[in-house]
Symmetry: C2
């Protein structure tokens, strides 16, 4: 196998010069750079990535920390990070945190020992010193960690759009399924809902509801029994909206004639429901792709344009809302 010594010999320079050039870690004359480049090409020298990690204290591993890959929101995100990573020569290490701060901390410590190049983090740990002090580049999704860490987020105020979709279609008694209260995006969606509903004369009520199908179904079933006047439901996630749709079937409310439902997320499952779910769709793939691009720029010490990237959402109308605007 060709070694760095062979390259140095061929190029007529010192091993230190070859190393400086390959690791971009110091001055190399233009002449030497040319000589090393042709020697590398001629000898088909491939630097050993593990040895390189040791020298540069950097690998091309990127850690993706997310709560749980089986939540339908995350596979598309992971896919995007992996696609963009691959383009730039990075591979992705998958970390399921279950929102457990101890588990997150362990990942960061273990992977830093492998000289991980950086992390993309989706976490509810708003106050997380293990991120703030990680000393490797980090990009956060949907969460503010501190002002130095770039954030990629959906425009969660798109909840205004979802609320208006119900109001414009004649809903006068709207149930809002609010997500977990400690969750930033869930709170932004709640704010968006309030802004839109307060500009109308419709009645509304708010119920806190986990992003979980069976739990959401049970909660909505009970609310619909107690409040038969409800004619619209806006759910903070598609999984909750799917639960609401199932509950409507059980209590015998026809969707969309008697009850209209709008979700938030835009996951593939929404299309498979009957009727198909109207939803405020996030561009999850784009969020992941931007996060990966920003992280790689930070790893490579390139300038990033901004510290906050907001990805637009759009309203996807399907069968759980009525056709005509009123």
């Amino acid at each position: 196998m060709t070694t760095i010594k062979d390259v140095a010999k061929k190029a007529g320079v010192s091993v230190a010069t070859v190393s400086r050039f390959l690791n971009d870690s110091g001055y190399v004359s233009l002449e030497a750079a040319k000589a090393v480049t042709s020697a590398v090409e001629e000898l088909k020298y491939e630097s050993n990535p593990v040895a390189r990690s040791l020298n540069t204290k950097k690998s091309n591993l990127v850690g993706l920390i997310l709560p749980d890959i089986t939540n339908p929101f995350f596979p598309e995100l992971a896919r995007a990070v992996e696609d963009v990573g691959l383009t730039y020569g990075y591979t992705v290490v998958l970390c399921n945190s279950d929102e457990d701060p101890e588990k997150e901390k362990n990942y960061i410590e273990t992977l830093k020992k492998k000289y991980i190049a950086g992390f993309i983090v989706t976490s509810n740990q708003l106050d997380a010193p293990h991120y703030a002090n990680a000393k490797v580049p980090i990009v956060a999704l949907d969460r503010t960690i501190n002002e130095k860490i770039p954030i990629v987020s959906s425009n969660n105020a798109g909840a205004i759009m979802g609320t208006n979709a119900l109001l414009e279609r004649g809903c006068r008694n709207i149930l809002f399924l609010r997500g977990p209260e400690k969750l930033n995006p869930a709170n932004d969606r709640y704010e968006g809902f309030l802004e839109a509903i307060r500009n109308s004369d419709a009645h509304y009520q708010v119920v806190t509801c986990p992003f979980h199908f069976a739990d959401s179904q049970k909660i909505v079933e009970n609310v619909l029994k107690d409040h038969p006047q409800i004619d619209g439901i806006f759910a903070s996630s598609d999984v909750s909206a799917a639960g609401a749709l199932k509950a409507a079937g059980i209590v015998g409310k026809h969707v969309p004639d008697e009850l209209q439902i709008v979700g938030f997320d835009g996951v593939a499952m929404g299309e498979m429901l009957s009727p198909g779910l109207t939803t405020v769709a996030q561009d999850v793939y784009k969020m992941g792709a931007i996060a990966a691009r920003v992280l790689i720029k930070r790893i490579e010490n390139k300038e990033i344009e901004q510290n906050f990237y907001e990805v637009p959402v759009k309203l996807v109308i399907r069968g759980t809302t009525r056709e005509g605007m009123e």
Copy 2:
């Protein structure tokens, strides 16, 4: 930072002895082993994993090669591999192959340069020399690569169970949605269907159908229009079954009164459909967990009990089939 030299000094043995002991790479006397163990503990010595990779030519990275994490079958598999990996100190690198042999080959080559410890592979490349010659431990999911590579597979003959569920509920004209013909598990399910249906006096027809929602919906819509006598559909995947259910709604066939539907997979989405999907459920998490355990045993040169692990499936009855047996 504590180095291996400090450990050797403390333990009163040579650096080579410490290294042999820590890397399990040669004889160490019981006395020396005890001395090294207490020195490691006392000095809180943590060997540098990147340096260890270089010495042992092994990292504790495990590659998970799958077609596409956004297919609802794979997130649960990835989760299981990650959970088991974590328990044994391995981290998981995620690789989406899109079933592209070139991409698979590139992953194997790139990751081998990082001294990847092993691979778990879900691939349709039945004849794939890049796996057979990879020279690192591999475990295959649902695929036979060669007789030396352990396989973890569902009992796809469970399709017999799904077919009988339709027959016992009175179906006499059954449509079988066969999966892609180059896919091993799809073919096993087809065999299972044929075995059960040929033991009955029911009519049947077979249509090839990708594991894709919208395509399946279109195919089934056309078949139902041309063959209104069809009273049962058995789909080789839940995603295809969801498409069939949607198609039934469009052509105005009531499920389950006029048409009964059974899927195969057991993904979470099946529960969210209305009516809920009756399906032959695989234990995807268990498949991933077994694959990870077998791989780690192979990496650590421990004996494995067998080369073929078959995980049972079970019939989950929901609303797309009628209640009473006939």
